[in-house]
Symmetry: C2
Subunit: 424 residues, 2 copies
């Protein structure tokens, strides 16, 4: 008997990248709010708008070291006819004025200190001469000072109730400065989604094992840990799944009870040993897609199980990296409620002709430079799915649309900025 | 008796930003090496070159699921005259070939598995038909396969001994992938410099204290914590220094015994309460500069004490932020041994006319956008030294050279990219 053994595993429904992204994002539910200390808030995402609980500054603040005075007292003074004012108070930062500044008087004041209510200007120290006479202090001023000079009015930066930071904003240095200013020592942020990572495939050596012929070290897991942290998730490295369908099923089901997202890497090819492809066909699982019209990573798979997402990324390092950036990063971002969860997209000039042809859209690792006022993206010399070594030098993914003749140097191409990307 | 009370505190030697940076960097000594687990290596800096301890890949790797064969066996075959090969082995990933592939034979092989030494090509699964006949398996192929097809040769990405990562390189996702691939579960990095932060000034409220008239919350310390971490240092928030010279001296001296760098923020103006200005004039201290021809932050001060650096940054949030980015960040970078410790510099079009005039170079906070193929930098609406609220929206510092007429929109300006900066 002659039998064709090719199974229906080959039948995969191809979706485009935007369709695949939309299918995934439909399942993103924003995470719960938690309060974290401000010193641990960096790179977290705000769970609610932050409004100013008071104007800023909340008192009339001196912008200079100098003297608070009545500007009218300086009217008409000049080098020949300086005005002389008696110094009646001394206001360091954090102190309140202790004497009333009448006409003809001035109060010594520090940068940042509260200006006496009666005074309408501050003259800077360097524009004054100080004198002592019969135990009293005086200053001399030789130039007119305009009303309001060197005084920052109440609410100059922000009014009471102003929205200062919006929900979904990622917290960095400037946000921390604002939060501290307004006394937010606990910051409302979205809980980090807990992301389990399984590597699959018995070919994988632990990172600290000696090399063996025919086997490779498990590098994707460590790469994913870093990508997940950057994206704002909390990664959990689980023990590698072996190539056994029943064990794999148990392990993945257990993971779904404990984690918010499950990622596998490896074992999604169309061969006889394809575990993940089987798993996403189980009745309890809804397959979202198992083929995307892209290179690398066309076999990237996503499925939903009890409302949670399973991403089966390629075991090839380049494809695993790209699959995470295009699909998992935006999903984590959407859970966190960020307004723009996708990699930033813009146009650049292609630096070298890209020769490869393909029916699928390619996401080619590239470096970004700034030359003569233009952004130029250079494709990495090695961009195969299996290639690991060029990930580290990549600033962008260059989007090469389906083409049967390549794309010439000098053409404008879309590029996606990678999280660690820079241009030089 | 009439006496001029103005002291020599006003005398400050002005240096330019590049001169100030050079004075600082002269004191940067590279830190010691330590080994950290790869999972904690992100954003650390390599203390030594990393070389490949073996070629990568280290075995002839199949790039496809399919069959390993002799390409000569497919010579001349076509749709009408398919070639039929006996399948004699099955090589999953991580396993070694168990049978020799003679002419007329083929071995089933998985993506990533070791190709048998005798085979010179792999045909992809989809290009074959499988048959069973009298208990034996066969494949049929209808197209010629060229020699080398779908086989990644040994050392395709890296040869044994290749330098794969250079000393001074900051570790991110791509570097982690490489390190894991080559088994570096412990990574040689430069120890993080320990950076003490003092705020000065009795006007400061703790972040969780209720607001008081005339006083502000200590926000600079939290901002600096974040900047130090981003730069690769380990921040230590010390109790604020009160405005008392003796106490301040003791506190700063104690800090120098325990930390590698000491930063103060506040208390560097020219007023009567200026503690830091006194401190850097002590005999045991070498003043590097106490005035820089820049805005904001012209009173930024740096001094050396027992070979360690003291940075006295402005208490104004905007000036403190800029002072850190221009001086402390590169110093930390130099200690870590990074090759380019300064903020990346490039040119952009000025989006709005900048009207302010100044004798000093201004570092104006700005946002960066990408419009019609050009990078455009927009100055923040509020860029005063004292302003805190625009730090969060800044991608770049726009460099406005000394000018007595401002800079017109459309002119090219130098910009410095901030660590959290993006362009949209």
């Amino acid at each position: 008997m002659t039998k064709n053994l090719n199974s229906d595993k080959f039948r995969r429904n191809i979706v485009s990248v935007p369709v695949a992204q939309a299918k995934i994002l439909a399942y993103a539910q924003q995470g719960e709010m938690e309060l974290v200390p401000i010193s641990e808030a960096n790179n977290r995402v705000l769970a609610s708008d932050i409004t100013a609980p008071h104007p800023f500054p909340h008192f009339r603040r001196s912008g200079m070291d100098g003297y608070a005075l009545h500007s009218l007292d300086t009217r008409g003074c000049n080098n020949e006819q300086p005005v002389q004012l008696e110094v009646i108070d001394d206001i360091p930062c954090g102190s309140l004025p202790s004497a009333k500044v009448e006409r003809g008087m001035a109060s010594r004041i520090m940068t940042g200190a509260k200006v006496p209510d009666e005074a309408d200007a501050v003259v800077m120290l360097e524009m004054t001469e100080t004198l002592e006479h019969e135990g009293k202090k005086y200053i001399r001023i030789k130039r007119e000072i305009e009303s309001g000079k060197n005084i920052t009015p109440v609410g100059f930066e922000l009014a009471d109730g102003d929205r200062i930071l919006e929900k979904g904003r990622r917290i960095g240095t400037g946000e921390i400065s604002v939060l501290a200013t307004f006394g937010y020592h606990l910051v409302p942020v979205v809980e980090k989604p807990r992301v389990a990572i399984f590597s699959t495939g018995s070919e994988l050596l632990q990172i600290d094992e000696p090399l063996q012929d025919g086997r490779i070290r498990n590098s994707n897991t460590y790469m994913l840990v870093n990508q997940i942290r950057e994206a704002g998730g909390e990664p959990y490295m689980l023990e590698a799944i072996e190539d056994d369908l029943d064990k794999a099923r148990q392990r993945v089901e257990a993971a779904f009870t404990e984690y918010d997202i499950v990622i596998t890497t490896g074992g999604v090819s169309v061969g006889d040993y394809d575990i993940m492809a089987e798993l996403v066909r189980e009745p309890s699982t809804e397959l979202l897609f198992n083929k995307v019209s892209m290179r690398p990573g066309s076999v990237t798979t996503a499925a939903v199980k009890e409302g949670k997402l399973l991403f089966a990324l390629s075991g090839n390092p380049g494809a695993c990296f790209v699959g995470f950036e295009l699909f998992v990063r935006p999903f984590i971002g959407a859970i966190l409620g960020v307004s723009k969860p996708f990699l930033p997209e813009f146009q650049a000039v292609l630096g070298n002709t890209y020769h490869k042809i393909n029916n699928f859209t390619r996401f080619v690792r590239g470096s970004l430079t700034f030359e003569g006022g233009r952004l130029v993206a250079y494709p990495a010399p090695l961009d195969e799915s299996s290639v690991m070594v060029t990930i580290k030098d990549s600033d962008v993914l260059i989007v090469i649309p389906p083409t049967n003749e390549g794309v010439a140097a000098g053409k404008l191409v879309d590029v996606l900025m990678l999280p660690g990307g820079r241009f030089t």
